[in-house]
């Protein structure tokens, strides 16, 4: 399992280090999932609660919301990488 490039770990890690790395990765994924649940609920769910089922609109909204959250994640990652590169290059002068 690899997420955001974690996992290119050096050889010869102790058991503790390996487990702690796996824990960090799990926490990251859990955190993202919880944020996704909260945010897409806010944006998609009608809180009048006229029915317990998800209706068509809510379902479609949720599917798109999750996809867009991931896309945003990737875009922010790219932007940050670019910013980081700009900084590193500026440091060379």
């Amino acid at each position: 399992m690899s997420f955001l490039g974690f996992g290119n770990s050096q050889p010869q890690l102790t058991s503790e280090q390996k487990i702690s790395a796996a824990e960090t990765e799990l926490d990251l994924v859990t955190d993202m999932f919880n944020k996704l649940v909260d945010n897409c609920y806010k944006k998609c769910i009608n809180t009048q609660y006229t029915e317990g089922e998800l209706n068509k609109n809510e379902s479609a909204c949720l599917d798109r919301c999750v996809a867009k959250y991931f896309e945003t994640n990737v875009k922010v990652g790219e932007n940050m990488q670019q910013l980081g590169q700009t900084f590193t290059n500026a440091g060379k002068f």
Binding site: F3, Y41, Y49, L62, V66
Partner: protein
């Protein structure tokens, strides 16, 4: 990542179980808060009215179905993303 050996996997599994328990408690308390905020607004009585109870029922059902659906899409997106990384 270096694969975890059997012993490490066992230790990690324990950690995961602890986290799942914690996560379940967190889910429970956040659902109480959510449905209370959205459904309970009348304090002329100390008992939940029928209307409030119906609302809470629907609120809980809606949230669980919501997180189930988001979970499915999350897994799909995650799988698609890690496939992209391995290419």
């Amino acid at each position: 990542m270096d694969a975890l050996n059997a012993k490490e996997q066992q230790d990690f599994q324990k950690l995961v179980e602890q986290k799942q328990m914690k996560d379940f408690m967190r889910l429970y308390s956040s659902l109480v808060e959510r449905c209370f905020t959205d459904c309970v607004n009348d304090f002329t009585s100390s008992k939940l009215t029928n209307k409030e109870q119906t609302c809470i029922l629907k609120c809980s059902e809606k949230f669980l179905k919501h997180s189930e659906r988001v979970g499915q899409r999350f897994q799909e997106q995650n799988a698609a993303m890690s496939q992209g990384l391995n290419r």
